[in-house]
């Protein structure tokens, strides 16, 4: 679902936005991939429900492909830091 508020406040911006809902990582958090002004973004975001509608919340971040790729390359390092918390 394309996000309806905040992002793409101008009508024409909304037009070229395609979005693919990918997965839920918790009850109210989703990862979606969308195209905005020709740029593909990975969005990790909290959602809330109002009147049966699912709306994007404030908490979250949209990563550009460059940023997403850096994150992917560091999965191992993240995991090992997580290990050191316990």
């Amino acid at each position: 679902m394309a996000s309806k508020r905040k992002r793409g406040s101008k009508a024409d911006e909304k037009e070229d936005e395609e979005s693919v809902a990918v997965c839920e990582i918790s009850k109210n958090r989703k990862v979606s991939v969308r195209k905005w002004r020709g740029q593909v973004l990975v969005d990790i975001r909290e959602y809330w429900y109002k009147g049966g509608e699912c709306l994007p919340g404030k908490k979250g971040i949209s990563l550009t492909m460059d940023q997403w790729n850096v994150l992917q390359e560091h999965v191992k390092q993240i995991d090992s830091a997580v290990q050191r918390v316990n």
Partner: protein, 167 residues
């Protein structure tokens, strides 16, 4: 009775000694507190004691991390990720309240792992500079619990596929 300043100095010396002796992967904050109180001859119940020890541990840990990070970056450029495992194990534990930056996504954005009340959080967030320190901003970003991070990892192939379909 010794003044608080003198006591603090004694605790500082004791904590430093203890931290350099102990295996940081095993030792807990509570253990450090107990030993430091014994060595410095200070009451554990002093109101400033717990917070002060915590602060000392954090200083010590972040100084150590800075050191090991610098070393790692240099090595990584030469060798790639092959040795990552063995380097990681020599790194210090993440103390409560600590935030370790794993990588920079862009000028302002970082991925960090945080010890929040004993639980790990993976935080993808914008940071800002204040007084020479890099601080997490509450505005843009999200902190994932371990369950959420694991779920995200499991979905990586699906996310990659979605990216391809839009490109």
């Amino acid at each position: 009775m010794a003044s608080e300043d003198a006591e603090k100095e004694a605790v500082r010396v004791a904590v430093k000694e203890i931290l350099s002796e102990e295996d940081m992967d095993v030792v807990t904050e509570g253990m450090v507190r107990k030993k430091a109180a014994e060595r410095a001859g200070v009451e554990v119940s002093a109101p400033w004691f717990k917070g002060f020890v915590k602060q000392l541990i954090q200083e010590f840990v972040s100084a150590r991390q800075d050191k090991s990070k610098r070393g790692e970056e240099e090595e990584e450029e030469e060798k790639g990720d092959e040795n990552a495992g063995s380097q990681e194990s020599s790194k210090a534990m993440l103390a409560e309240g600590e935030d370790e930056i794993i990588c920079q996504l862009s000028g302002k954005r970082n991925v960090s792992v945080q010890n929040f009340r004993g639980k790990a959080l993976v935080s993808i967030r914008e940071y800002y500079e204040k007084d020479g320190k890099t601080l997490p901003s509450s505005k843009a970003g999200i902190s994932l619990t371990i369950d959420q991070w694991e779920a995200l990892k499991k979905e990586l192939p699906a996310i990659r596929q979605a990216i391809e379909s839009l490109q």
